[in-house]
């Protein structure tokens, strides 16, 4: 029986046949349902567009690739350093404000990248606060008098995206550091490693799966982004996708380009998997005594403080205060619109999607753990790759399965003499489905990383004591994973609050969320009019983010 043997040794030499049971069958069906839009995009890509490829190859394809890779590299390194570094500092050290930074470092998560892009440009452009002050100070009068870095550039895009995306890495790295057993750290110190040595040689390698999940999520966000790079006039691959789709009227060509992006992500994931092949990351000791915290003094404390305060200042306090300022003079437009219904719509959609994503993510991750062999895992991974597809293209992928489902429901209804064609297309079901397809990666990745840290001996013990897989999940894994699952739920929630392209395309008539309301102004670069809406998105994100931080701090196994 497959389900009774646990993958204690994952080095299975031959590919076993897929065997069906409730878990594997359920996982396959769910994975297929979630992957349907991705398959649709791949399906749309099967069309003859050789002239478009020839054209792109001869003109801008190289440029797009170079820009996309530069952006991924810049944001990847930026979020890795800031996220992991600050997570380690607040977990292991005590310095002024470190308790506050524990949660404050998460705040930029609530700020949509396009909003930060607007605010940063608004402040740094010629008419903005910074340059105006410089001109006053030095008596310059025109742009030709001095040099100032171009805000709308690759550098601007890297900085803005790093600032709003590093919390993914921070979050996962911090949970991983909190979940680590103090024994290994003590051993490393006993064996003569310095604090830095313990960090680089012991803590980081042990936290690697979580950090990698974080960075992978960041890179997928970078790949699928259109709003920010478009605003900063950086020509990435996504720019090409939208040209082909909207200016050359070729949705097939756009789907082909999107498929290339998917391929890039697959290569990334597989490379990382190969690199850590055969290693195990769960802890063999259950000794979770209080983590030691090193009290920092003098310049070390000051540097740590600066390292933690800068990301919060630039990624959160700056946009929040600029938006508040504008919201004060332009609140009427927002309030006179149906503001409160937008808030309600945003909250309902995001909460439903977060709940569904966590349930499905946990189900898939656990089914993968129960199954031997690669099939369920491949299915689950395919289902969670939607994160890397630009939202608008994914929306097109969602439309066709929903359309087909509508036709089938209508057909069944007709056989019973009721006209129920098109019950789904005009509702919020496509939106929630779209969110799920897009953000399952967050929930699945977090669940998988968290499960990976639970030693299979636990499963063994539970099963020996007579539990079936569901009971083991409920009594053993679920309590251990609670913190991570909460993390997953909040990540999905906050991301849905900010989500734009899927919501715009898939929503029913007369339906606005905070994000779509902000967009109608933002799309015309009317920052002031959109300020209150944007501020509400940020505000609504803060509460769960703070909750999240508390949950994580409490989630440490053995915490009293």
């Amino acid at each position: 029986m497959t389900t009774d043997t646990l993958p204690v040794s994952s080095a299975s030499r031959t590919l076993p046949r897929l065997r069906f049971n409730l878990w594997s069958a359920g996982a396959l069906i769910i994975a297929l349902a979630v992957a349907a839009p991705i398959f649709t995009v791949l399906g749309l890509a099967i069309t003859d567009t050789s002239d478009i490829w020839t054209h792109l190859y001869n003109t801008v394809l190289g440029l797009y690739l170079e820009r996309t890779i530069t952006l991924m590299f810049g944001v990847g390194i930026g979020t890795l350093v800031i996220g992991t570094g600050t997570a380690w500092l607040v977990t292991m050290c005590r310095f002024p404000g470190s308790r506050i930074f524990e949660w404050a470092l998460l705040l930029p998560l609530a700020v949509p990248a396009y909003v930060l892009a607007f605010v940063v440009t608004d402040q740094l452009e010629y008419a903005g606060t910074v340059q105006s002050a410089l001109r006053d100070m030095f008596g310059w009068t025109k742009p030709q008098d001095y040099w100032f870095p171009e805000v709308r550039s690759m550098g601007g895009a890297i900085i803005v995206m790093t600032l709003v995306l590093y919390p993914y890495v921070y979050l996962l790295a911090r949970s991983a550091f909190l979940e680590q057993s103090v024994c290994v750290l003590e051993v490393s110190r006993t064996l003569g490693k310095t604090a830095w040595g313990s960090f680089t040689r012991v803590a980081i390698p042990l936290a690697r799966p979580s950090i990698v999940v974080g960075v992978t999520l960041v890179l997928m966000e970078v790949i699928n982004d259109f709003g920010t790079v478009d605003y900063f006039a950086v020509q990435t691959f996504t720019a090409g996708i939208f040209d082909v789709w909207l200016n050359m009227n070729s949705v097939g060509g756009a789907a082909q380009l999107s498929s290339v992006l998917l391929l890039v992500v697959l290569v990334l994931i597989v490379t990382e998997r190969m690199a850590r092949r055969g290693r195990k990351f769960h802890h063999t000791s259950n000794k979770y005594s209080e983590l030691p915290s090193y009290r920092l003094h003098g310049y070390k404390a000051a540097l740590s403080f600066i390292a933690c305060v800068l990301p919060v200042l630039l990624g959160f306090i700056l946009p929040a205060s600029v938006l508040s300022h504008y919201a004060l003079s332009f609140y009427e437009e927002t309030l006179s619109a149906d503001y409160f219904s937008y808030v309600a719509n945003s909250l309902t959609l995001s909460a439903s999607a977060a709940f569904l994503a966590v349930v499905i993510g946990l189900f898939l991750a656990y089914a993968v753990r129960l199954s031997q062999g690669p099939w369920i895992k491949i299915a689950a991974r395919t289902a969670s790759i939607g994160y890397a597809v630009p939202g608008a293209i994914l929306a097109v992928g969602v439309l066709w399965p929903i359309g087909a489902l509508d036709q089938s429901i209508g057909w069944i209804g007709n056989n019973f003499g009721v006209a129920i064609g098109g019950v789904l297309i005009g509702t919020i079901v496509p939106v929630v489905y779209g969110y799920l397809v897009r953000f399952l990666a967050l929930a699945y990745g977090t669940s998988e990383a968290s499960l990976g840290k639970i030693t299979p001996n636990m499963d063994g013990a539970a099963r020996t004591l007579g539990s079936n897989p569901s009971q083991a999940l409920k009594r053993v894994h679920f309590p251990l994973m609670r913190g991570s699952l909460m993390t997953a739920a909040i990540l999905v929630f906050v991301d849905c609050m900010k989500e734009l392209p899927l919501t715009i395309i898939l929503r029913p008539f007369n339906f606005d969320t905070l994000a779509t309301f902000v967009y109608q102004y933002a799309s015309d670069e009317l920052l002031e009019e959109s300020a209150l809406g944007a501020l509400t998105i940020v505000g609504a994100g803060i509460i769960p983010v703070i909750l999240l931080s508390v949950t994580i701090a409490k989630s440490r196994p053995g915490n009293r």
Partner: protein
């Protein structure tokens, strides 16, 4: 797990409850997909509802609407599409989703060159792609044609939004129609070399750049000028507008006139409220609606009976390019490729 299942049940019920709040299908109503921002069209639609009692349900989106219509097939709930730019109207026509409409009202209100000969789409307003020139740094008569934009005397003096934006694509497509591939490519390379900075921002941002002294000349749509000139909430925009002279190009006696684009609407095939949809498009071409377009939005009404607003009139009369809209639409792909070929969006230094 049973608790999880239970809460899933609760969630399902909640979702169903939400579904039942979607707009009811009873009553007089029409469902509209709009590429135009809600805050722009709300006054128009409200006026329509007040007058006719027909409710208008709207989804606003700038992409994906065609795919949404196609994927829904016979279940498509939308009755009509409202959009800017001939490219989108033509794209929808080519995809075969428009229903031919035969309407005496529309034929009377909208001149033949602003509507599809088969009644598939109807232009509702026009806008011209003009030059905003610095009053201080550009002499009257220094720049008189689109062709002039490639003249080396404008090196480092031109600002424009992304070359891939539909308004610029339409302008380049019109150049292709008048001059052919090679001449247009050389022209576009010339314009690129004259740029003051990498293409960025929207049309309004270019006016701001002139005010700031970043550049002397910008390419923009007419109505942006009107919106800046009348912006009471942001008086700084009035200052931007004051620094600028509106210039219509190619106005010489034998010249072709300024490049025009349209906003328009079409009724969808299989529309469930077809009669109301036609009524809506007819109403949008009526005196009352056209006046709102003219006065509130500073566009040129398609209906020749309605005069432009006083402000728009103050920019002066001009000659419009008579090139047919479809001649522009069919050259959009070629125009996009040209933008790639000369790498326009990388700006002057590349």
């Amino acid at each position: 797990m049973s608790r999880i299942l239970k809460s899933m049940g609760v969630a399902a019920v909640a979702v169903l409850a939400l579904l039942s709040t979607s707009p009811a299908s009873a009553g007089d109503e029409v469902n509209l997909y709009s590429y135009r921002q809600p805050f722009l069209i709300k006054p128009l639609l409200k006026s329509f509802t007040d007058e006719t009692g027909i409710k208008v349900n709207v989804v606003f989106a700038k992409k994906g609407m065609l795919e949404k219509i196609q994927a829904a097939g016979s279940n498509n709930p939308a009755d009509a599409v409202l959009t800017v730019d001939i490219g989108r109207l033509y794209g929808l026509k080519q995809a075969g989703v428009f229903e031919p409409v035969k309407s005496g009202v529309l034929e009377a209100n909208i001149p033949a060159h602003l509507r599809d000969p088969g009644g598939l789409w109807f232009g509702l307003t026009q806008r011209s792609r003009i030059i905003l020139a610095s009053k201080d740094r550009v002499m009257p008569g220094e720049l008189t044609s689109y062709e002039d934009l490639a003249d080396p005397k404008f090196r480092g003096r031109i600002c424009v939004r992304s070359g891939k934006h539909s308004y610029n694509i339409a302008l380049i497509a019109s150049m292709l129609a008048h001059h052919g591939q090679e001449k247009t490519k050389a022209w576009l390379e010339g314009v690129k070399a004259n740029l003051a900075r990498k293409p960025q921002g929207n049309d309004r941002a270019q006016a701001k750049a002139i005010y700031e002294g970043v550049c002397d000349v910008a390419i923009a749509n007419t109505y942006y000028m009107g919106k800046m000139q009348t912006n009471e909430k942001k008086p700084e925009q009035k200052k931007w507008a004051e620094a600028i002279r509106v210039t219509f190009l190619n106005q010489g006696a034998s010249d072709r006139g300024a490049h025009m684009n349209v906003s328009g609407a079409g009724v969808l095939k299989g529309a469930k409220h077809k009669a109301f949809a036609i009524k809506l498009v007819e109403w949008l071409s009526s005196d009352k609606a056209q006046k709102i377009y003219a006065e509130d939005n500073f566009e040129y009404p398609a209906n020749p009976k309605i005069a432009v607003s006083d402000l728009v009139k103050s920019w002066g009369d001009f000659k419009a390019d008579k090139l047919s809209m479809e001649d522009i639409a069919t050259r959009r792909e070629a125009a996009t490729k040209l933008v790639d070929e000369v790498n326009f969006n990388e700006g002057p230094t590349s």
